[in-house]
């Protein structure tokens, strides 16, 4: 009998020419919390997908308790005792919690009994859930609980967690760690995928670091520093974004005054009484757990949604509540939405056509007498690609063919190229590799330093602390007062993310 629960031995996985995993070996012991570290694109997801049966290795083998196994599909993995909590939840919004759990259990037929078990198990592990609630009505944190409980009900010997804290408040994350430690104490192995190094240091007993598909280190994270772990991940010391010059702030360029917006459909979040000012020269960040009204706020500020907007929005001194996004761009504002493909860029269009998308109404000569100047658009695309190091296979590729980081650099570069007076960007580095993220953050700081106003909506607290001058927190559609970054720490932000500032919350408590 082997000491190890699951071993991935000399695993290689190729997609065409590209080796996503190259001779990767990883060994997991029962009761161990093992970190899998690596940048985006390092091959972490590919590796765990093979462990979960969603992909098959091209070479090498998996061993379960010392014996070679072939995990043909996720159902086989679950039967073996492997549970997985995906970063992108595999949940069904229109179904209830119990139904969502039942779908992951092959022989759950008695729904009433299942509901009882869900209640028991979820409460037992400190993750309470109501079995008959519709998933659509639940917060992101609660949704993650469903994923976890779904795994726990199968009494797994191995639990794989893909970036579980990315969507949680610090307090929710702490609660999760308690649960994970308890599971480990019961003998369950946990493979913990993350790039949050502090977390890994606090939680894990071992760490395997991947870089470009290869294992570059197997370490005990408790004996490492965050900096040494980062060096393993990236290979070189990560350049910090340069600190900002202290400078006098300009006039307010964006002012939101008691802005409200009804929810878009039954599953949306309504904005309530949002007020905020962003002055020239500063970066204001809005923190918050995903799904708390960030995209609604973006829609209201950008003017993508005009119907139902209450309060006033002023850009560069002009009242904008009734002006659409084109008019706001004409006032010098620029916008970068969260979703790159399909929102910030048209996937099927080459980059040059995607330049036209946001600039046809503001650039001289882009459109003349109704005719589009494709030559000029091509020039701009080339200029943006050059300035922001957008790497492309050929001169004017379709947006869909770019990697996440390259496309994000293009989408942000397209706006920065205009030298906007106001930039509003939602999740600027979500799913972007560390190199591109550094370029993007530096560009945002440089823009603010040149006197423009920058509003950043982000879930990434590290990013917010690195670049923001002031921070406000959004929770259930309500925005807290903003405070200088220096006056805040993670605890304080965590409390705000959990809704401490909500007037709605106090009203609910009072009634």
């Amino acid at each position: 009998m082997s000491d190890f629960l699951l071993e991935a031995v000399h695993i290689t996985k190729t997609f065409g020419e590209f080796a996503a995993n190259d001779d990767v070996t990883l060994r997991l012991k029962p009761g161990e919390i093992h970190a899998l570290l690596g940048e985006n694109g390092a091959g972490k997801s590919t590796l765990v997908k093979m462990m979960y049966g969603a992909l098959q290795p091209s070479d090498g083998e998996l061993r379960w308790r010392g014996k070679p196994v072939r995990i043909a599909n996720p159902a086989a993995a679950r039967a073996l005792g492997v549970g997985m909590v995906f970063q992108h939840f595999s949940l069904f919004e229109a179904l209830t919690v119990a139904e969502n759990v039942a779908l992951a259990l092959p022989d759950a037929t008695d729904m009433a009994a299942l509901a009882t078990r869900i209640e028991q198990v979820s409460r037992g592990y400190g993750l309470p859930l109501q079995p008959h609630a519709l998933v659509a009505d639940l917060s992101v944190g609660q949704r993650q609980r469903i994923e976890i409980v779904r795994c726990l009900l199968q009494e797994p010997s191995l639990l794989i967690m893909d970036e579980p804290t990315a969507v949680l408040t610090p307090q929710e994350a702490d609660q999760l760690f308690v649960t994970l430690r308890r599971l480990a104490a019961e003998g369950c192995a946990i493979l913990y995928i993350s790039h949050r190094l502090e977390e890994v240091k606090a939680l894990c007993q071992a760490a395997t670091v991947l870089r470009r598909g290869k294992v570059v280190a197997v370490v005990d994270p408790r004996r490492e520093t965050a900096a040494s772990l980062a060096r393993h991940m990236v290979g070189v010391d990560v350049a910090d974004v340069s600190t900002r010059m202290v400078q006098a702030l300009g006039e307010a360029i964006l002012t939101l005054d008691h802005v409200s917006l009804p929810a878009d459909g039954p599953f949306g979040t309504a904005l309530r009484d949002v007020s905020l000012e962003v002055a020239g020269g500063e970066i204001v960040a809005i923190a918050g757990v995903a799904g708390n009204g960030q995209s609604e706020l973006f829609d209201a500020v950008s003017g993508e949604r005009l119907e139902g907007v209450g309060g006033s929005i002023t850009i560069a001194g002009h009242g904008c509540a009734a002006r659409g996004i084109k008019a706001r761009r004409a006032l010098g504002a620029a916008f970068v939405p969260e979703e790159r493909l399909g929102h910030g860029a048209v996937p099927d269009f080459p980059l040059s056509h995607n330049v036209i998308l946001t600039r046809f109404a503001v650039d001289d000569g882009m459109v003349q007498r109704g005719l589009v100047n494709l030559g000029l658009a091509g020039d701009v695309a080339g200029r943006v690609a050059g300035a922001f190091d957008v790497r492309t296979a050929h001169s004017d590729p379709e947006a869909r063919s770019l990697s996440g980081g390259n496309l994000q650099k293009f989408v942000i570069g397209r706006e920065l190229d205009r030298r906007p007076r106001l930039l509003v960007v939602n999740q600027p580095t979500w799913g972007v590799d560390a190199g591109a993220a550094a370029v993007i953050r530096q560009a945002l700081i440089d823009l603010a330093r040149s006197g423009s106003a920058v509003l950043v909506i982000s879930q990434d607290l590290d990013e917010i602390f690195a670049i923001a001058d002031r921070i406000a927190v959004i929770s259930r559609g309500e925005l807290s007062d903003s405070r200088p970054t220096g006056d805040l720490d993670r605890e304080a932000i965590g409390l705000l993310m959990a809704g401490a500032h909500e007037r709605g919350a106090s009203e609910r408590a009072a009634s």
Binding site: G303, K326, F360
Partner: protein
């Protein structure tokens, strides 16, 4: 063995051109199989069906007569479908265009000077556009799916036309036949060649050129393409999806209406219950075969025109039903859609050892 799709990094330019050619070739192959199943010599049957119509001058003229309405409606639908607006009620808009356009010559028969033609064409386009405005209004105001409403309105339009032709607009001297008075003078479209080819063909060509420029060079065309493939990006650019629904439905409805009045004032010369042999539906195939590109629609319209003529010829020469034409058109649309998959995907045949998972790239 099973088929799996593998997404290409970018759309294949080669396949964009090759796919319609492949679809036509496969349709001809299917045709040969069908003909031999019917006990006919497939080579001869295909010759009669697809080649003979283009060998004689008179049949070429006839081809233009058939292709003109298909192209006129097809270009409008191509713009519509590009924008993801599913107007499938062109047949109804055609009928309404025919009715509106016929109002002048029927109600004011003495008005036969040149202006009447211009007014008739304008009325025709107006009728089609107004009729298409109904689904546009319902979609933009209430969010009602335009597919079902535009289609339901086809049946309604045909019933309305039927009522007019059997009722108030029936020719009093027409021996009770359900038809209107015969149009005279400028109430009829000018013809070219040996007689049947009419102004409608010219209008179709103009529509192709205008919409080709619109789609490839103008901001409006850009807007259509953005809203169609990535609606969120369209909103982000500042394009209104509601205005786009209106634009597309009014444009395609107007063109269908124009085709309707051209049919009445051209080949038939009077209003009768059967205004078109389903041009409004066949134009859907034309739009797809033409790759939703106005220039492609021109070629596709001619090809579908051939299938109509071939159907008639086959009925006479081979004694087979003219319904085969409709079957061919349906098969052709299937093959186009199937071949279009090749633009975005590579197709792989896999030996399936297990149902799942072993399909590693």
């Amino acid at each position: 063995m099973r088929l799996v799709l593998e997404r290409r990094a970018e759309r294949s330019r080669l396949m964009t051109w090759l796919s319609p050619v492949l679809a036509v070739a496969l349709t001809l192959l299917a045709g040969a199989v069908i003909f031999s199943l019917m006990g006919l010599d497939p080579a001869h049957a295909l010759y009669v069906y697809f080649l003979e119509p283009v060998l004689w001058w008179w049949s070429l003229e006839e081809l233009v007569v058939k292709a003109a309405p298909l192209v006129l409606i097809g270009v409008g639908l191509a713009v519509c479908f590009r924008a993801n607006v599913w107007n499938i009620g062109a047949e109804g808009q055609l009928t309404m265009g025919a009715l509106f356009g016929s109002a002048l010559p029927i109600l004011w028969h003495e008005f036969q000077s040149f202006p009447v033609m211009v007014l008739m064409l304008m009325m025709g386009a107006l009728g089609g556009a107004l009729y298409a405005a109904i689904p546009a209004y319902l979609r933009t105001r209430f969010g009602t799916n335009e597919i079902l409403t535009s289609l339901m309105l086809v049946y309604v339009a045909q019933l309305i036309a039927d009522w007019f032709i059997r009722g108030p607009w029936r020719d009093p001297q027409g021996f009770n036949f359900p038809k209107s008075v015969q149009f005279e003078g400028w109430q009829l479209l000018p013809t070219f060649g040996d007689g049947r080819m009419h102004l409608g063909a010219g209008l179709a060509l103009v529509a192709v050129v205008v919409l080709y420029v619109l789609m490839s060079r103008t901001l409006k065309g850009f807007e259509v393409r953005v809203v169609g493939t990535a609606p969120r990006a369209g909103t982000f650019a500042g394009f209104s999806s509601k205005r786009m629904v209106w634009f597309c439905l009014l444009l395609s409805g107007g063109l269908a209406g124009l085709a309707g009045i051209c049919e009445v004032a051209g080949p038939s010369g009077h209003l009768q219950p059967a205004i078109s042999p389903g041009y409004g539906f066949t134009a859907i195939i034309v739009a797809f075969l033409g790759r939703l590109n106005p220039a492609g629609v021109l070629v596709a319209g001619v090809m579908l025109g051939i299938s109509y003529l071939g159907g008639e010829a086959a009925q006479i020469d081979l004694g087979i039903s003219d319904k085969t034409a409709q079957v061919f058109q349906g098969i052709l649309l299937f093959f186009i859609l199937a071949c279009d998959t090749l633009i975005l995907y590579r197709i792989r045949l896999l030996r399936s050892q297990t149902a799942y998972g072993d399909a590693g790239r």
